[in-house]
Symmetry: none
Subunit: 148 residues, 2 copies
DNA sequence: TCATGAAGTGGTAAAATTTCCCAAAAAAGA
DNA sequence: TCTTTTTTGGGAAATTTTACCACTTCATGA
Protein backbone atom coordinates (compact mmCIF):
# COMPACT_ATOMS: atom_id res chain seq x y z
CA UNK A 1 0.00 0.00 0.00
CA UNK A 2 1.36 3.42 -0.93
CA UNK A 3 0.55 7.06 -1.26
CA UNK A 4 0.49 10.24 0.77
CA UNK A 5 -2.64 12.35 1.06
CA UNK A 6 -3.90 15.25 3.17
CA UNK A 7 -7.34 15.89 4.56
CA UNK A 8 -9.03 17.61 7.48
CA UNK A 9 -11.11 16.07 10.24
CA UNK A 10 -14.69 17.39 10.01
CA UNK A 11 -16.70 18.81 12.93
CA UNK A 12 -17.96 15.38 13.85
CA UNK A 13 -14.53 13.85 14.10
CA UNK A 14 -14.69 12.07 10.76
CA UNK A 15 -11.87 11.71 8.27
CA UNK A 16 -12.28 10.96 4.60
CA UNK A 17 -9.99 8.20 3.35
CA UNK A 18 -9.02 8.80 -0.29
CA UNK A 19 -10.50 6.34 -2.80
CA UNK A 20 -7.06 5.08 -3.83
CA UNK A 21 -6.31 3.96 -0.31
CA UNK A 22 -9.76 2.50 0.19
CA UNK A 23 -9.16 0.44 -2.87
CA UNK A 24 -5.79 -0.72 -1.58
CA UNK A 25 -7.43 -1.76 1.69
CA UNK A 26 -9.45 -4.05 -0.54
CA UNK A 27 -12.70 -2.10 -0.17
CA UNK A 28 -13.20 -4.23 2.91
CA UNK A 29 -15.72 -3.02 5.44
CA UNK A 30 -14.24 -4.66 8.51
CA UNK A 31 -11.33 -2.58 9.70
CA UNK A 32 -9.40 -2.04 12.90
CA UNK A 33 -8.08 1.34 14.02
CA UNK A 34 -5.43 1.58 16.71
CA UNK A 35 -2.63 3.60 18.27
CA UNK A 36 0.78 3.43 16.70
CA UNK A 37 4.01 4.17 18.46
CA UNK A 38 4.39 7.81 17.39
CA UNK A 39 1.20 9.61 18.33
CA UNK A 40 -0.32 8.51 15.09
CA UNK A 41 -2.98 5.93 14.24
CA UNK A 42 -2.88 2.76 12.20
CA UNK A 43 -5.75 1.44 10.16
CA UNK A 44 -5.72 -2.26 9.25
CA UNK A 45 -8.08 -4.66 7.65
CA UNK A 46 -9.41 -6.92 10.36
CA UNK A 47 -7.60 -9.89 8.88
CA UNK A 48 -4.22 -8.18 8.90
CA UNK A 49 -4.77 -6.92 12.41
CA UNK A 50 -5.65 -10.34 13.71
CA UNK A 51 -2.47 -11.67 12.25
CA UNK A 52 -0.52 -9.05 14.16
CA UNK A 53 -2.50 -9.72 17.33
CA UNK A 54 -1.81 -13.43 17.11
CA UNK A 55 1.91 -12.81 16.67
CA UNK A 56 2.06 -10.57 19.73
CA UNK A 57 -0.23 -12.56 22.01
CA UNK A 58 1.00 -16.04 21.49
CA UNK A 59 -0.18 -18.77 23.85
CA UNK A 60 -2.31 -18.73 26.99
CA UNK A 61 0.38 -17.16 29.18
CA UNK A 62 1.28 -14.26 26.88
CA UNK A 63 -0.08 -11.88 29.49
CA UNK A 64 2.88 -12.73 31.71
CA UNK A 65 5.47 -12.14 28.99
CA UNK A 66 6.94 -8.67 29.24
CA UNK A 67 7.57 -8.20 25.53
CA UNK A 68 4.09 -9.37 24.62
CA UNK A 69 2.58 -7.17 27.25
CA UNK A 70 4.46 -4.08 26.10
CA UNK A 71 3.29 -4.49 22.52
CA UNK A 72 -0.20 -5.52 23.55
CA UNK A 73 -0.89 -2.58 25.84
CA UNK A 74 0.64 -0.01 23.55
CA UNK A 75 -0.66 -1.14 20.18
CA UNK A 76 -3.02 -4.12 20.21
CA UNK A 77 -5.34 -3.50 23.14
CA UNK A 78 -6.32 0.07 22.20
CA UNK A 79 -7.65 -1.09 18.83
CA UNK A 80 -11.25 -0.40 17.91
CA UNK A 81 -13.40 -1.89 15.22
CA UNK A 82 -14.04 0.63 12.51
CA UNK A 83 -15.64 0.94 9.16
CA UNK A 84 -16.01 3.55 6.51
CA UNK A 85 -19.43 5.07 5.87
CA UNK A 86 -20.96 5.22 2.42
CA UNK A 87 -18.93 8.31 1.65
CA UNK A 88 -15.67 6.64 2.63
CA UNK A 89 -15.30 8.45 5.93
CA UNK A 90 -13.76 7.00 9.07
CA UNK A 91 -15.11 8.15 12.40
CA UNK A 92 -12.39 8.19 14.97
CA UNK A 93 -13.30 7.40 18.59
CA UNK A 94 -12.45 10.07 21.12
CA UNK A 95 -9.67 8.18 22.95
CA UNK A 96 -7.82 7.65 19.70
CA UNK A 97 -8.43 11.19 18.52
CA UNK A 98 -6.93 12.52 21.73
CA UNK A 99 -3.93 10.24 21.49
CA UNK A 100 -3.15 11.47 18.01
CA UNK A 101 -4.04 15.10 18.65
CA UNK A 102 -6.80 15.02 16.07
CA UNK A 103 -9.40 17.54 17.12
CA UNK A 104 -12.09 18.44 14.61
CA UNK A 105 -10.76 20.73 11.87
CA UNK A 106 -7.23 19.39 12.28
CA UNK A 107 -5.38 18.82 9.05
CA UNK A 108 -3.83 15.41 8.82
CA UNK A 109 -1.66 13.23 6.64
CA UNK A 110 -2.87 9.87 5.44
CA UNK A 111 -0.19 7.45 4.36
CA UNK A 112 -0.43 4.06 2.74
CA UNK A 113 2.26 1.89 4.26
CA UNK A 114 2.68 -1.81 3.55
CA UNK A 115 -0.37 -3.51 5.04
CA UNK A 116 -1.91 -0.51 6.77
CA UNK A 117 -2.86 3.12 6.53
CA UNK A 118 -1.15 5.56 8.85
CA UNK A 119 -3.04 8.62 10.07
CA UNK A 120 -1.14 11.47 11.67
CA UNK A 121 -1.78 15.15 12.32
CA UNK A 122 -0.02 17.38 9.83
CA UNK A 123 1.95 19.11 12.57
CA UNK A 124 3.11 15.83 14.13
CA UNK A 125 3.99 14.58 10.66
CA UNK A 126 6.14 17.57 9.88
CA UNK A 127 7.99 17.23 13.17
CA UNK A 128 8.49 13.51 12.65
CA UNK A 129 9.79 14.02 9.14
CA UNK A 130 12.27 16.59 10.27
CA UNK A 131 13.61 14.08 12.76
CA UNK A 132 13.55 11.10 10.40
CA UNK A 133 15.20 12.84 7.48
CA UNK A 134 18.34 13.25 9.56
CA UNK A 135 18.31 9.52 10.22
CA UNK A 136 17.73 8.21 6.75
CA UNK A 137 21.40 7.71 5.97
CA UNK A 138 22.14 5.88 9.17
CA UNK A 139 19.03 3.73 8.95
CA UNK A 140 19.79 2.80 5.38
CA UNK A 141 23.33 1.74 6.18
CA UNK A 142 22.33 -0.28 9.22
CA UNK A 143 19.51 -2.10 7.45
CA UNK A 144 21.45 -2.94 4.35
CA UNK A 145 24.27 -4.38 6.43
CA UNK A 146 21.82 -6.61 8.33
CA UNK A 147 20.34 -7.94 5.11
CA UNK A 148 23.52 -8.63 3.19
CA UNK B 1 -11.02 -8.40 22.76
CA UNK B 2 -9.96 -4.81 22.03
CA UNK B 3 -10.66 -1.19 22.81
CA UNK B 4 -9.63 1.52 25.22
CA UNK B 5 -12.13 3.47 27.28
CA UNK B 6 -12.08 5.85 30.22
CA UNK B 7 -14.52 6.10 33.08
CA UNK B 8 -14.65 7.17 36.69
CA UNK B 9 -15.46 5.03 39.70
CA UNK B 10 -18.76 6.32 41.14
CA UNK B 11 -19.30 7.36 44.77
CA UNK B 12 -20.31 3.83 45.63
CA UNK B 13 -17.17 2.24 44.25
CA UNK B 14 -18.71 0.99 41.03
CA UNK B 15 -17.25 1.13 37.54
CA UNK B 16 -19.26 1.14 34.35
CA UNK B 17 -17.93 -1.27 31.74
CA UNK B 18 -18.63 0.11 28.25
CA UNK B 19 -21.23 -1.80 26.22
CA UNK B 20 -18.67 -2.76 23.56
CA UNK B 21 -16.55 -4.58 26.08
CA UNK B 22 -19.54 -6.19 27.75
CA UNK B 23 -20.50 -7.55 24.39
CA UNK B 24 -17.00 -8.88 23.79
CA UNK B 25 -17.10 -10.60 27.17
CA UNK B 26 -20.06 -12.43 25.68
CA UNK B 27 -22.66 -10.68 27.84
CA UNK B 28 -21.90 -13.43 30.33
CA UNK B 29 -22.90 -12.87 33.92
CA UNK B 30 -20.34 -15.12 35.56
CA UNK B 31 -17.09 -13.24 35.72
CA UNK B 32 -13.88 -13.34 37.70
CA UNK B 33 -11.99 -10.25 38.83
CA UNK B 34 -8.40 -10.48 40.01
CA UNK B 35 -5.08 -8.74 40.51
CA UNK B 36 -2.79 -8.37 37.54
CA UNK B 37 0.95 -7.94 37.52
CA UNK B 38 1.05 -4.12 37.45
CA UNK B 39 -1.26 -2.70 40.09
CA UNK B 40 -4.15 -3.12 37.76
CA UNK B 41 -7.06 -5.57 37.69
CA UNK B 42 -8.06 -8.24 35.21
CA UNK B 43 -11.63 -9.19 34.47
CA UNK B 44 -12.27 -12.57 32.83
CA UNK B 45 -15.26 -14.66 32.00
CA UNK B 46 -15.30 -17.57 34.39
CA UNK B 47 -14.50 -19.96 31.56
CA UNK B 48 -11.45 -18.01 30.41
CA UNK B 49 -10.24 -17.64 33.95
CA UNK B 50 -10.43 -21.35 34.51
CA UNK B 51 -8.39 -21.88 31.40
CA UNK B 52 -5.71 -19.56 32.71
CA UNK B 53 -5.83 -21.25 36.08
CA UNK B 54 -5.29 -24.58 34.39
CA UNK B 55 -2.33 -23.26 32.39
CA UNK B 56 -0.66 -21.85 35.49
CA UNK B 57 -1.43 -24.74 37.82
CA UNK B 58 -0.65 -27.61 35.52
CA UNK B 59 -0.75 -31.07 37.03
CA UNK B 60 -1.36 -32.27 40.58
CA UNK B 61 2.10 -31.22 41.75
CA UNK B 62 2.00 -27.63 40.54
CA UNK B 63 1.99 -26.39 44.10
CA UNK B 64 5.61 -27.52 44.41
CA UNK B 65 6.70 -25.68 41.29
CA UNK B 66 8.10 -22.31 42.19
CA UNK B 67 6.97 -20.58 39.02
CA UNK B 68 3.44 -21.94 39.27
CA UNK B 69 3.27 -20.94 42.87
CA UNK B 70 4.43 -17.40 42.19
CA UNK B 71 1.83 -16.85 39.50
CA UNK B 72 -0.83 -18.61 41.50
CA UNK B 73 -0.41 -16.55 44.63
CA UNK B 74 -0.06 -13.24 42.82
CA UNK B 75 -2.73 -13.61 40.16
CA UNK B 76 -4.93 -16.67 40.45
CA UNK B 77 -5.56 -16.97 44.16
CA UNK B 78 -6.75 -13.36 44.72
CA UNK B 79 -9.56 -13.76 42.17
CA UNK B 80 -13.12 -12.98 43.19
CA UNK B 81 -16.38 -13.82 41.52
CA UNK B 82 -18.02 -10.76 40.03
CA UNK B 83 -20.94 -9.75 37.90
CA UNK B 84 -22.28 -6.67 36.19
CA UNK B 85 -25.62 -5.14 37.17
CA UNK B 86 -28.28 -4.23 34.64
CA UNK B 87 -26.56 -0.93 33.94
CA UNK B 88 -23.31 -2.72 33.16
CA UNK B 89 -21.60 -1.67 36.36
CA UNK B 90 -18.98 -3.71 38.16
CA UNK B 91 -18.62 -3.42 41.91
CA UNK B 92 -15.07 -3.90 42.94
CA UNK B 93 -14.30 -5.52 46.30
CA UNK B 94 -12.32 -3.37 48.68
CA UNK B 95 -9.15 -5.53 48.66
CA UNK B 96 -8.92 -5.26 44.92
CA UNK B 97 -9.78 -1.58 44.91
CA UNK B 98 -6.95 -0.93 47.30
CA UNK B 99 -4.51 -3.01 45.29
CA UNK B 100 -5.23 -0.99 42.17
CA UNK B 101 -5.55 2.38 43.89
CA UNK B 102 -9.15 2.78 42.81
CA UNK B 103 -10.90 4.98 45.33
CA UNK B 104 -14.32 6.36 44.45
CA UNK B 105 -14.11 9.22 41.92
CA UNK B 106 -10.84 7.88 40.51
CA UNK B 107 -10.61 8.08 36.76
CA UNK B 108 -9.56 4.83 35.22
CA UNK B 109 -8.71 3.23 31.90
CA UNK B 110 -10.55 0.13 30.75
CA UNK B 111 -8.77 -1.94 28.13
CA UNK B 112 -9.93 -4.94 26.19
CA UNK B 113 -6.94 -7.22 25.83
CA UNK B 114 -7.14 -10.63 24.24
CA UNK B 115 -9.40 -12.69 26.51
CA UNK B 116 -9.82 -10.23 29.35
CA UNK B 117 -10.52 -6.66 30.37
CA UNK B 118 -7.79 -4.72 32.13
CA UNK B 119 -8.77 -2.05 34.64
CA UNK B 120 -6.17 0.48 35.76
CA UNK B 121 -6.22 3.93 37.30
CA UNK B 122 -5.59 6.68 34.77
CA UNK B 123 -2.51 7.87 36.60
CA UNK B 124 -0.99 4.39 36.79
CA UNK B 125 -1.83 3.90 33.14
CA UNK B 126 -0.08 7.06 32.06
CA UNK B 127 3.02 6.10 34.01
CA UNK B 128 3.00 2.59 32.58
CA UNK B 129 2.61 3.86 29.04
CA UNK B 130 5.47 6.26 29.42
CA UNK B 131 7.65 3.34 30.41
CA UNK B 132 6.31 0.90 27.83
CA UNK B 133 6.52 3.26 24.88
CA UNK B 134 10.27 3.42 25.27
CA UNK B 135 10.39 -0.37 25.13
CA UNK B 136 8.30 -1.01 22.06
CA UNK B 137 11.23 -1.28 19.66
CA UNK B 138 13.12 -3.67 21.88
CA UNK B 139 10.02 -5.78 22.54
CA UNK B 140 9.24 -5.99 18.85
CA UNK B 141 12.74 -7.13 17.99
CA UNK B 142 12.81 -9.69 20.78
CA UNK B 143 9.46 -11.16 19.83
CA UNK B 144 10.18 -11.32 16.12
CA UNK B 145 13.42 -13.18 16.79
CA UNK B 146 11.59 -15.67 18.99
CA UNK B 147 8.94 -16.29 16.38
CA UNK B 148 11.13 -16.74 13.35
C1' DT C 1 -37.91 -3.96 69.73
C1' DC C 2 -37.63 -0.20 67.03
C1' DA C 3 -35.78 3.89 64.96
C1' DT C 4 -31.67 5.68 62.64
C1' DG C 5 -28.31 5.97 59.41
C1' DA C 6 -24.53 4.38 56.54
C1' DA C 7 -23.15 1.61 52.79
C1' DG C 8 -24.18 -0.99 49.04
C1' DT C 9 -27.45 -2.41 45.22
C1' DG C 10 -30.61 -1.71 41.55
C1' DG C 11 -33.08 1.11 38.47
C1' DT C 12 -34.88 5.22 35.57
C1' DA C 13 -35.20 9.29 32.84
C1' DA C 14 -33.06 13.02 30.56
C1' DA C 15 -29.02 14.72 28.24
C1' DA C 16 -25.37 14.12 25.26
C1' DT C 17 -23.08 11.72 21.91
C1' DT C 18 -22.57 8.70 18.15
C1' DT C 19 -24.17 6.40 14.14
C1' DC C 20 -26.49 6.06 10.00
C1' DC C 21 -28.32 7.83 6.03
C1' DC C 22 -29.75 11.15 2.48
C1' DA C 23 -29.19 14.80 -0.73
C1' DA C 24 -26.94 18.81 -2.49
C1' DA C 25 -22.56 20.49 -4.13
C1' DA C 26 -18.27 19.88 -6.20
C1' DA C 27 -14.98 17.61 -8.96
C1' DA C 28 -13.47 14.56 -12.44
C1' DG C 29 -13.83 12.15 -16.66
C1' DA C 30 -15.80 11.38 -21.22
C1' DT D 1 -21.23 19.99 -21.95
C1' DC D 2 -23.03 16.07 -19.92
C1' DT D 3 -22.47 12.13 -17.02
C1' DT D 4 -20.51 9.92 -13.32
C1' DT D 5 -18.04 9.87 -9.25
C1' DT D 6 -16.60 12.02 -5.10
C1' DT D 7 -17.11 15.19 -1.27
C1' DT D 8 -19.45 17.85 2.08
C1' DG D 9 -22.92 18.96 5.22
C1' DG D 10 -26.62 18.06 7.95
C1' DG D 11 -30.88 15.63 9.96
C1' DA D 12 -32.95 11.80 12.31
C1' DA D 13 -32.57 7.73 14.88
C1' DA D 14 -30.33 4.97 18.00
C1' DT D 15 -27.19 4.38 21.49
C1' DT D 16 -24.57 5.69 25.46
C1' DT D 17 -23.69 8.45 29.43
C1' DT D 18 -24.83 11.05 33.30
C1' DA D 19 -27.24 12.26 37.24
C1' DC D 20 -30.37 11.09 40.32
C1' DC D 21 -33.58 8.38 43.17
C1' DA D 22 -35.44 4.40 45.81
C1' DC D 23 -34.71 0.30 48.18
C1' DT D 24 -32.32 -3.26 50.90
C1' DT D 25 -29.16 -4.71 54.31
C1' DC D 26 -26.64 -4.29 58.28
C1' DA D 27 -24.94 -2.18 62.41
C1' DT D 28 -25.88 0.91 66.14
C1' DG D 29 -27.91 2.61 70.13
C1' DA D 30 -32.08 4.18 72.58
Amino acid sequence: MNGEYRNTIDEKGRLMIPPRLREQLGNVSELMLTKSTDNSLWLFTKADFQELDAAVNYGPLAMFNKHSRVLDLTVIAPAREAELDKAGRLSIPQVLREYAGLEPKTECVILGSRNHVEIISASAYDALMEEYRTQVGEAGNALSEQRM
